[in-house]
């Protein structure tokens, strides 16, 4: 007599031919080397994204969009709904940890040159997901319609409005009008729960499919005798172990430091002193402060935004212009650029946080 799970597997296999997939997974190996640790951050990002989707759907059961309802509904979730406070706190903390994990994953891929041929599309979809993640954070931040979110959105969309030519239409598109109003809230809600998840899912599907299809990237210096471990079950179980640890950290953060709701947004109130964007935008915000008001008759803020946009584009397209890696030589230039970017981001974030 076969066990129940075996019989269930056979039943499904008979209909959808799972055998091929299981065989594929059984033959899939993950390289083992001194940088293997970085492989896990993709999985951590995925785990946190799953948490986001799950908690986000639960929040949607009670959240009401609208100037007059949003704040009150979040207040209701955190004070009246059973475990509502936990779901909201986990959603907020997981969002931040997701961005952090995505940052680490992106830089690890960059430093190990894992974006090189044939993984250019994997890198591009990853970068797209990273930018979408930032926009997820920006749009979700406004949804509780509290004071800080209101003014942070105002500042954020103001910065977008400073881009030459397309800035103003972009700002009006993001705000749903000239100012941050209930229309902006509806718009951000739409982005956050429909548009962004839709695009993100497509990118994630391609990204994961390519990772499975092409396997993990091996380091440039690896030889033929590189150690490996089976993806299934070894790597997957290690992934699961890390997920459990992340879940533990998440639970501690969510309970010990519940995400505050603050005061309801008031368009007529003055902006709170020392208002800052979320930590992942802080380095850009801080950098814009250091740029002089005018550089060669160009507005400093505009120049800063253009430089950031150009840097983001170059970073995204790195697989196509990194000639050294293409040639098979290990160049130092990109490593230095990466180190400079990491140092710059960390130091400006710390300075911005403390100031």
């Amino acid at each position: 007599m076969k066990p129940v799970w075996k019989r269930l597997y056979d039943w499904v296999d008979e209909r959808v031919e799972l055998g091929g997939l299981v065989e594929f997974l059984g033959k899939k190996y993950v390289p083992v080397h001194r940088h293997s640790i970085w492989y896990y951050f993709g999985g951590v990002s995925l785990f946190l994204f799953i948490i986001q989707v799950t908690t986000g759907i639960l929040l949607l059961l009670y959240y009401k969009s609208g100037e007059e309802l949003a704040f009150e509904s979040v207040q209701f979730i955190t004070s009246k709904v059973q475990f509502g406070w936990l779901i909201r706190s986990v959603h907020s903390w997981a969002a931040n940890l997701f961005i952090l994990a995505a940052f680490i994953h992106m830089f690890s891929v960059y430093f190990t040159r894992a974006y090189r041929k044939p993984r250019e599309i994997t890198w591009i979809t990853g970068m797209l997901m990273f930018f979408l993640g930032l926009f997820f954070g920006f749009s979700g931040y406004l949804l509780p319609w509290n004071e800080l979110a209101f003014f942070a959105t105002k500042v954020g969309t103001d910065i977008a409005g400073a881009i030459p030519i397309i800035g103003k239409p972009v700002m009006i598109f993001l705000r749903g009008g000239e100012d941050v109003t209930g229309a902006t809230l509806s718009r951000m809600f739409g982005f956050h729960i429909a548009i962004l998840p839709g695009i993100f899912s497509v990118c994630l599907g391609i990204h994961l499919l390519l990772v499975q299809r092409q396997g993990m990237s091996e380091p440039e210096e690896s030889g033929k005798d590189m150690k490996t471990m089976p993806f299934f079950p070894n790597f997957l179980l290690r992934d699961l172990l890390l997920w459990l640890l992340v879940m533990n950290v998440l639970a501690i953060l969510a309970v010990i430091f519940p995400w505050e709701l603050g005061h309801k947004a008031d368009a007529f109130a003055s902006a709170p002193a020392g208002i800052k964007p979320e930590w992942y935008f802080l380095f850009m915000f801080q950098m814009l402060k250091y740029i002089p008001a005018k550089i060669l008759s160009i507005d400093g803020e505009v120049l800063g935004i253009l430089v950031f946009s150009a840097a983001g584009l170059l970073w995204t397209l790195v697989p196509f212009w990194d000639r050294e890696t293409k040639r098979g030589t290990r160049g130092r230039f990109l490593t230095y650029v990466g180190i400079a970017a990491v140092v710059c981001i960390i130091s400006l974030t710390i300075v911005g946080w403390l100031s």
């Binding site: 955190t78 004070s79 089976p230 699961l240 172990l241 879940m247 533990n248 501690i252 010990i256």
Partner: protein, 494 residues
């Protein structure tokens, strides 16, 4: 003999000629304008005889221009010679200002101590605004001072004399048709009201020290009461009134104290008005009236508090105290709260302690109904205050723990509201009515305290829950780790 007679005739003729010519030259040395106009018997020249300007040696030509030395009318009133005739529009005030704004004329020539900025003040004042004709200012100098019979303001005949000024101002300000064209919202019964006031009555009886229009509003530089620089702007009114009322020397003989401003400044109303600049707080005129004896619609000053504190006044008028106060002719609010020195009303005023105002009348009979009622009312208010404090502390503690307590915090307002209502309800002096309001506050305070306690219990539940969840996850993680180790050892062996 003929030669002698001939010489004598020559002498007589010479005497006649020189006498006539001397008389003629004497006549020409006088103001020819006045000579002719007085001869014609017109009013301006008749009035001018008593005019201060005539006394100071000014001629008609000093205002009207022309040549006063010639008896030839055409020559005297020749425009080419500077004759301007009757000044019109702003020309009137300009003519006055020619001397009155000039230090060299006023001080050096006439040794005058009159201020020389009158024209400047007038033009910046509400009267200096453009009139409905659009060509000149509303009020020229002559409108108040007259033209040809101007006398010093101490002269009882002067229209700007203290006793005449109310009427002078009322010429325009009581003219409905005229005032409508400039400020339809401005009442036109100020003079009538003024005459009902102590100031107006004293003024009518000839007391020049009693305040008239200019004492409060100023004279040349009158500004709208809405103008922050105006002497009758709410925050400036206490100082304006105090200019006389705080001057003990000036007020001597009137039998009223001169420390009102000092008291008012320290009072709850004074602090609100003068320190916090709260224009809703009462200034002197809000209780004592602007022009009349009391504010409009107020029967007597003892009832004035009710115009703002309407609920308290209403409750008082239905209370048993009303009759008792009326019988003893006691002022209503003032008896307990004072007048100029009203301090913030604390709960201390209520009850039977030494500081409580109830004790003044009811403190000597501890068995009396009123004594017991006052005691119970104070206990009820104190008890509600304690409940509010306890609920607030619980909410603060729950908030410090990081629990979501926004709703309970918001509900604290209900308790505060009940406490405020109870303080108002005290004026009914009805124990049962007060108890109803207090009970409402107790209920809210109890609900808030329960909510805060639940939130704190929830906080502890969360911590315990986290402990259990962390333990389970850790056990799972450790088990998984051991499983992986075993699996990999098994794989390595095989």
């Amino acid at each position: 003999m003929a030669v002698v007679r001939h010489r004598f005739l020559h002498f007589v003729l010479w005497v006649i000629v020189t006498s006539v010519s001397s008389l003629a030259s004497l006549a020409l040395a006088q103001d020819q304008c006045r000579t002719c106009h007085e001869g014609l018997g017109d009013t301006p020249s008749a009035l001018f005889k008593k005019d201060i300007h005539a006394e100071m040696g000014l001629s008609c030509a000093d205002c009207h221009g022309g040549n006063p030395k010639t008896e030839d009318m055409e020559e005297a009133m020749n425009k080419a010679a500077g004759y301007i005739g009757v000044p019109k529009g702003d020309g009137i005030s300009e003519v006055c200002a020619k001397c009155h704004s000039s230090a060299s004329i006023m001080v050096k020539k006439f040794n005058s101590v009159l201020p020389r900025n009158q024209a400047e003040l007038l033009s910046a004042s509400v009267h200096g605004k453009l009139s409905t004709t659009g060509r000149e200012a509303i009020v020229p100098c002559t409108k108040c001072h007259g033209a040809h019979g101007i006398v010093t303001k101490t002269n009882p005949a002067s229209p700007v004399n203290a006793l005449n000024l109310p009427k002078t101002c009322a010429k325009c300000h009581s003219a409905a048709g005229y005032m409508r064209t400039y400020n339809p919202a401005l009442p036109i019964d100020q003079l009538d009201k003024y005459r009902t006031s102590v100031h107006g009555k004293r003024n009518a009886s000839g007391d020049i020290k009693a305040a008239e229009c200019a004492n409060c509003h100023g004279s040349h530089g009158i500004l709208s009461a809405k103008d922050v620089r105006s002497s009758v702007y709410p925050t400036n009114i206490p100082a304006t009134c105090a200019a006389c009322h705080s001057n003990a020397e000036y007020m001597r003989g009137y039998g009223i104290p001169s420390d009102q401003l000092e008291k008012f400044t320290k009072s709850v109303h004074g602090i609100s008005l003068l320190e916090k600049k709260d224009l809703g707080a009462p200034a002197c005129n809000d209780c004592h009236g602007n022009h009349g004896a009391t504010p409009p619609g107020v029967e007597s000053i003892s009832k004035v508090c009710g115009t703002c504190h309407a609920l308290n006044a209403d409750l008082f008028s239905k209370s048993p105290h009303k009759k008792a106060f009326d019988q003893r002719k006691l002022p209503e609010c003032e008896s307990c709260h004072g007048h100029h020195d009203i301090l913030v009303a604390t709960d201390e005023l209520l009850g039977v302690s030494a500081n409580a105002v109830c004790s003044w009348c009811h403190g000597k009979k501890p068995e009396s109904k009123a004594y017991l009622a006052a005691k119970r009312m104070r206990e009820a208010i104190d008890s509600l205050g304690n409940s509010e404090r306890a609920a607030t502390m619980l909410v603060q503690e729950a908030e410090r723990m990081g629990t979501e307590i926004g709703e309970a915090k918001f509900k604290l307002r209900e308790v505060r509201q009940a406490r405020l209502e109870s303080r108002t309800m005290v004026h009914s002096f009805d124990d049962e009515q007060l108890q109803e309001v207090v009970e409402k506050g107790f209920k809210s305070a109890a609900a808030i305290s329960d909510g805060a306690r639940l939130a704190m219990e929830d906080y502890h539940f969360r911590r315990r829950g986290l402990g259990v969840a962390t333990l389970i996850i850790t056990v799972l993680a450790v088990s998984l780790y051991i499983y992986i180790r075993r699996l990999e050892r098994k794989q390595a062996k095989s």
